[in-house]
């Protein structure tokens, strides 16, 4: 399951989709909307994507992960549009035979998604300011190898 969606994420369905008798471990990662970042209070977030490239990029990410880790199943879903506090922006679920592989694969997927996949976040602060987020310029120069945040 690889999706971009404007709807709230059903992370239980995403997790169910990776359960398998060949797996002894499932790791689910949820990126959720946090209220305070560097002392600034967020009211809501907005995600925009270059949908066509983002989907292609997510598919490539999953293929690379499958070549690096013994994935039994994997699911990656990113939400777009306006999100409120505690809403789930991204859900990544992986299942593997053993647990260390599941943690490593889940972490690699979210780290690399944040470096590569063309999706952008705009913070709407409680004080009325609206601001596009983007990581430092070094990360921008080398999106494939740098750490985006």
């Amino acid at each position: 399951m690889i999706q971009l969606t404007d709807q709230p994420l059903d992370y239980a369905a995403i997790t169910e989709s990776v359960r398998d008798p060949a797996a002894g471990a499932v790791v689910l990662f949820l990126g959720t909307v946090r209220e305070f970042t560097a002392g600034q209070q967020t009211e809501q977030l907005e995600y925009e994507a270059y949908r066509e490239m983002a989907l292609a990029s997510l598919q490539q990410l999953v293929q690379e992960a499958a070549s690096m880790y013994p994935l039994v199943k994997v699911a990656v879903v990113h939400r777009l549009g306006v999100l409120q506090l505690t809403d789930v922006a991204v859900a990544i679920a992986v299942s593997t035979p053993h647990r260390a592989q599941a943690f490593a694969a889940g972490q690699w997927l979210i780290d690399t998604l944040k470096q590569r996949v063309p999706i952008w976040k705009r913070e709407h602060y409680v004080d009325g300011r609206v601001q596009w987020q983007h990581p430092s310029q070094e990360a921008a120069v080398a999106p494939v190898v740098g750490e985006a945040s």
């Binding site: 998604l113 983007h134 945040s149």
Partner: protein, 80 residues
Amino acid sequence: MVTVLFFAAAKEAAGMELLRLEVSQSLSLLQLQQRVLQLVPALQPLQSLLLWAVNNQYAVPAQVIESGDTVACFPPVSGG
């Protein structure tokens, strides 16, 4: 013809979502970037930040752009 798409802060700065350029002969991505920045000066302050993709893949400046290609121009990604 080449389509250039803008996203996020680049779309906002450019004040447009896309641009269609006639290309009489093939050119490099670098040459196309220079043309876009000349046509849309509002993007120049972001220049050092911008990422460029060709047909859904990140591309190097030397990549050759052909008529029919889709180029995208955007700031560092911040999904997740």
